[in-house]
């Protein structure tokens, strides 16, 4: 029987290659064309699959309706495959520029003071798909962001036990995830010591009241609030205190961008950008004329939000919105704006400002790896 030239692919399904097509692809010859589609990732069916392997899942804006993002709509970002970790056997090594290298187990963490913070994690590449010319990497739109209540211990308390030496200036984190080949770089990143010992930086064991799921880095992950998500290393197994910034590929090549538009030099990404999203109304919504409360989320990494302005005329005029509801030092904040919507087509926009003097731009200079996207978000609305 002649085999099809194109691979037969079912939605979320397995690649079906048989017979001579398989031989041509250098793949094992298969006896049968029949396969079953893989199960959807349990509990994550609402997310957009940016890739099944490694698993990268993006939230739809319409699902980001609550302050704490439920697990079912919390984005998932991975550079590599998930490791399988036995929580009971978990431990972390603390080594490097310390007087007292340590191995800590979960019981040791339980002896330290417990802390809990609401922290918004955002992928450095959130918004990458909007860069022009196009940037390489996962083509996130707006939904690589989520907020959870993280519970654990202060990293500062762990480091204090190890007694960093006078020359210590950076802290590197290594998780249990492994590259698919020996040549690909291990996923290791470092943060400056000032950030590692900051009171909100933690080794987390719980996410929204539950032990951290495997997909989100359990049993223990780092949470570095206000920094790009990749600082918050999952499946933590080693902490290395260093005199210099870590120099592996995920510090020296990727997660880097220029500071200003014409800069040739790049820096290793740390703080998130000031940013906001319009959640209601949704892009493309049709609304009746009259009063409507426009709303969304805003956040700002190391800055603190100082304002959120709203435009309903495509950016010609701006009025201040208000912040509403609970927030934490490094969490997003809900914003609202009461709009008396007149009939017609409108472009609704939100623009956040922060205490570092940052304001969302209307354009972003492209950087080749597509980071730092925080361009003003706009949604088109038709009012009847």
């Amino acid at each position: 029987m002649r085999q099809p030239i194109s691979p037969a692919i079912s939605r979320r399904g397995f690649l079906v290659i048989t017979g001579s097509a398989a031989a041509a692809a250098g793949l094992p010859k298969l006896a049968s064309a029949q396969t079953a589609p893989p199960a959807a990732i349990p509990g994550k069916e609402r997310l957009i699959v940016r890739s099944p392997r490694p698993i990268n899942l993006e939230a739809r804006l319409a699902d980001l309706t609550s302050y704490h993002t439920p697990e079912g709509v919390f984005f998932v970002r991975n550079n590599y495959d998930l490791p399988a970790i036995d929580a009971a056997g978990w431990s972390v090594k603390v080594e490097g520029e310390v007087d007292q290298p340590l191995v800590l187990r979960l019981d040791d963490l339980r002896k330290l003071p417990a802390v809990a913070h609401d922290v918004t994690l955002e992928c450095a590449g959130n918004g990458r798909s909007f860069h022009r010319p196009r940037a390489s990497g996962i083509q996130w739109e707006h939904g690589a962001v989520g907020t959870a209540r993280w519970k654990g211990v202060r990293l500062a308390d762990v480091l204090a036990m190890a007694r960093p030496r006078a020359g210590a200036a950076h802290v590197a984190f290594d998780g249990a995830d492994k590259a698919p080949t020996p040549q690909a770089p291990d996923f290791v990143r470092s943060v400056p010591l000032w950030k590692a010992v900051e009171a909100h930086t933690m080794l987390a064991v719980e996410m929204n009241g539950q032990p951290i799921p495997q997909l989100h880095g359990g049993p223990v992950r780092v949470v570095v609030p206000g920094f790009v998500g990749s600082a918050s290393i999952k499946w933590l197994e080693r902490i290395a205190v260093r005199t210099e910034e870590f120099d592996g590929a995920f510090m020296a090549r990727s997660y880097r961008a220029p500071r200003a538009e014409d800069d040739k030099e790049t820096y290793s990404l740390q703080s998130l950008e000031v940013k906001s999203l319009v959640i209601g109304p949704a892009d493309g919504a049709r609304l009746p004329a009259g009063k409507v409360t426009v709303w969304g989320w805003a956040w700002s990494g190391e800055g603190e939000l100082t304002g959120l302005d709203v435009s309903t005329d495509g950016g010609q005029t701006w009025k201040p919105g208000r912040f509403a509801g609970r927030w934490d030092r490094y969490s997003w904040r809900k914003w609202e704006y009461d709009w008396d919507a007149a009939a017609g087509a409108h472009v609704v926009m939100a623009r956040a400002t922060d205490s570092l003097g940052r304001i969302q731009p209307s354009t972003r200079a492209r950087n080749p790896l597509g980071y730092r996207w925080n361009v003003i978000h706009s949604v088109k609305v038709d009012v009847a």
Partner: protein, 83 residues
């Protein structure tokens, strides 16, 4: 019956069936799903950088396949504004 040897979740549209598609499958999916590759849009320099980095990272791409893989990717996943 489950496929033997290689079982890979893949994108929901077929790869365009022009010459080289099998190479893209065979050389790329041992490490990651096709979605990683086919969501990119790059120009010739951009695709070459990516493929060469993949080779450096251990992708099973013998030198004789590099050119055909690049041709295929550029034909179907090109950014007209990309270098």
């Amino acid at each position: 019956m489950i496929a033997l040897g290689v079982v890979v979740p893949v994108r929901s549209e077929p790869l365009p069936p022009t010459p080289g598609w099998q190479l893209v499958v065979g050389r790329c999916v041992p490490c990651h799903s096709l979605e990683i590759a086919v969501q990119q849009r790059q120009g010739p320099k951009g695709w070459a950088e990516i493929v060469d980095r993949m080779i450096k990272y251990g992708a099973p791409i013998p030198p004789e396949d590099r050119g055909r893989i690049l041709e295929y990717l550029l034909l179907h996943f090109r950014d007209p504004d990309g270098a």
